[in-house]
Amino acid sequence: MNLYKYAAPANFYPLAGKLIPWFAIPAAILFVVGMYIGFFVAPTDAQQGDAYRIIFIHVPAAWLGMFLYVLLAIYAAIGWAFNARLASMMATSLSITGAMFTFLSLVTGALWGKPTWGTWWVWDARLTSSLILFFLYIGFISLQSAIEDDRRADRAGALLAIVGVVNIPIIYFSVEWWNTLHQGATIRILDKPTMAPPMLAAMLIMLAACWLYSVAIVLARVRCIILEREQNVARLAEARA
């Protein structure tokens, strides 16, 4: 099988269509399982009471917000460097879902901050750099929609996305580099987890669910983008699918 064949939007279109249910259905199942464990199995936290249960959506949303941005920048860079249309379309498709998850991490963070810190918002390193991430997504989306020519929009977006990557390690390490209200990392790769097993399980299952959801929705959106940008090619693909 020649994998390069799928770099062509017309060939990728039917493949993406076939892949979507393989991600969407497990995502839906894991959302239900994760919420069940999070609310019916995981115990009440000794320090934070039940307020901590926001973690099951807050942490996955924050991780996805960062991860999808890195992915967006990589796709945008590939699209730019190798003049690969499909990679640029993937970047465009990722931007909406990444912005949505970053928005969720900010809102759920505020809803968590109010009862535990006594404030919706503080201008500290973690929160400010997360807000900048949201603005980078918004900037990418508005820049692309402001430029008529698709390929010029892709190049301008790629430049913004690549420069913005510098913000990702700042978010990630902000809780270690600066004094902050935000608690430290919940999971460290080399250390033992600091949470009770059912809490950790619920969070990781929700993370997997959000990840699978992202793949499904990004593939579904890139199909729309292919149709919008390449009317003739896409119709051919539709006929073959």
């Binding site: 609310f39 009440t44 009471g49 039940d50 307020a51 249960r53 926001i54 959506i57 807050h58 949303a61 909406i96 879902t97 949505m100 928005f103 969720l104 809102v107 759920t108 809803l111 968590w112 109010k114 009862p115 959801y213 929705i217 579904a220 959106r221 199909r223 729309c224 149709l227 919008e228 119709r235 539709e238």
Partner: protein, 47 residues
């Protein structure tokens, strides 16, 4: 745990349920918008 206790979430109900309500609206909204975008494309392809 009673139903009332579950809803109140130890008096954090507003924050906990608020978080999940916003998440539901955001994710549901993304799906609905994309579905409409797809519908629109399919209709314009038929013309």
């Amino acid at each position: 745990m009673s139903w009332a206790e579950f809803i109140s979430m130890g008096d954090y109900g507003f924050y906990v349920w608020g978080s999940y309500l916003v998440s539901l609206i955001a994710i549901g909204g993304e799906i609905v918008f994309l579905w409409k975008r797809k519908k629109r494309l399919q209709e314009s392809a038929r013309d």
